[in-house]
């Protein structure tokens, strides 16, 4: 049986969502612990999220 590529697209979204969610959650923890470092944490968080998002979009384009 052939699996439609839309299933793959769904899996990608789950994976990317989990990844970005983890980054966001960890950043929240970090900011709560060290509110004075919020700016730096936010920058690092955005970069990491953007990298995952890039992979997610690339996979979506290849499969979706």
């Amino acid at each position: 049986m052939e699996i439609p590529s839309i299933v793959g697209a769904g899996l990608i979204v789950i994976g990317a969502g989990l990844g970005i969610g983890r980054i966001g959650g960890s950043a929240m923890d970090a900011i709560a612990r060290q509110p004075e470092a919020a700016g730096k944490i936010q920058t690092a968080m955005l970069i990491a999220a953007a990298l995952i998002e890039g992979i997610g979009f690339a996979a979506l384009f290849a499969g979706g």
Binding site: T43, L46, I47, G54, I55, A58
Partner: protein
């Protein structure tokens, strides 16, 4: 507060009106919108969505109001004519004995009847002349470049008379400082950042302004075009390679350094060096895909939700979906700035790796 609600209502009704006339556009001689089945309406809305994301040879301001742009083709010599000859893609344009027709915003060479032959995958098999036209996207880029040139020239001039920013400079100065102090210096370093600043500032404001222009009802989503994000990304790629210092090249071709004898390095490097070289291509590639996909996805989501009103074809659907679109548009304004920031930030990160000095 009431003023805000009023303004919001005006914006919503304007967007709704602007969109309402569109689904009927390509459909005027066929079945009336009300008489179509839900599936037919979905197809129609999807066609409009597709069309909105494509580049065009006409500049359409709103329903029925458009002006032609010059078409420049290289087809056994230069062929220059105005896109009004196509009559919005409905007729065949004859130029110096050659016939051209527009199909899905692309120009094909045809016979005098304008026949376009399709292959099995519904791709036209007609010859495509080399298209150098001033399309809608090119036109908007030229406009935006002129706008930015005069805006920043004026701001720069104001600094000659004193250190205090005036006019637009009051708004732009903090952003320029932000790009320098939060993006360039932390990633590239205080000593090196100077030569990259002009590119980083240009790319930041260019992407941001184009993203914002894409949010206007004019339908000029320039950053939705992968060719444009490709050009921006390839600039980052070339600047990274051409400003690469010794450390950067050593890291590419000799990542393990002197800590290992060369006999052990050779088999490892057969695997490592190609991966490192691939990495230099993947980085700008992800820049290109990220900007393109984010802006395209945003527009598709907005238009899909607006399109639901016309698929449902009911006044009940208009209210909630319009409000949802309005709220998502505000989110898109944030994304517009965020994507400009991310592109600049990652470019600075790659430049930083290229400009790094030896630290051991």
């Amino acid at each position: 507060m009431t003023q805000f609600i009023l303004a919001a209502l005006v914006v919503i009704s304007f967007t709704a009106n602007a969109q309402h006339s569109q689904p009927e556009h390509g459909n005027s001689e066929k079945v009336a919108w009300e008489d179509m089945s839900k599936e037919e309406r979905t197809t129609e809305v999807n066609a409009i969505k597709q069309h909105h994301l494509l580049d065009d040879h006409d500049f359409t301001i709103t329903h029925g109001v458009s002006f032609p742009l010059p078409v420049i083709l290289w087809d056994n010599g230069l062929q220059v004519f105005m896109s009004s000859k196509f009559h919005h893609g409905e007729t065949v344009a004859e130029v110096n004995g050659n016939f051209y027709k527009v199909h899905h915003s692309k120009i094909y060479k045809t016979d005098s009847e304008g026949t376009i032959t399709m292959d099995d995958h519904h791709h036209p098999t007609n010859a495509k002349p080399f298209d150098l036209s001033i399309t809608k996207n090119v036109f908007v880029i030229i406009l935006m470049a002129l706008f930015m040139f005069f805006l920043f020239k004026g701001v720069a001039k104001a600094f000659k008379s004193g250190p205090m920013p005036t006019g637009a400079g009051r708004f732009l100065e903090p952003l320029v400082i932000f790009v320098r102090d939060e993006i360039a210096i932390p990633n590239i370093g205080k000593k090196q950042h100077g030569k990259y600043m002009s590119f980083l500032l240009t790319v930041f404001f260019f992407i941001w302004f184009l993203n914002l222009a894409g949010m206007t009802p004019l339908g000029i989503g320039v950053t939705n075009n992968i060719a444009i994000t490709f050009s921006l990304a390839i600039l980052t790629f070339f600047i990274t390679q051409f400003t690469g210092k010794k450390t950067y090249w050593l890291h590419l071709f000799d990542p393990l350094g002197s800590s290992m004898p060369w006999v052990a390095k050779v088999p490892l490097y057969i695997l490592l060096v190609p991966i490192e070289l691939l990495g230099t291509i993947v980085k700008p590639f992800s820049l290109m895909i990220r900007l393109y996909a984010n802006m395209t996805a945003g527009h598709i989501v907005l238009m899909s939700i607006l399109g639901l009103i016309f698929v449902a074809n009911s006044w009940l659907a208009a209210g909630p979906f319009s409000i949802l679109t309005f709220l998502l548009s505000i989110l898109e304004l944030l994304v517009a700035a965020l994507q400009a920031y991310i592109f600049t930030m990652l470019s600075a990160l790659y430049f930083g790796a290229a400009a790094a000095e030896e630290h051991h």
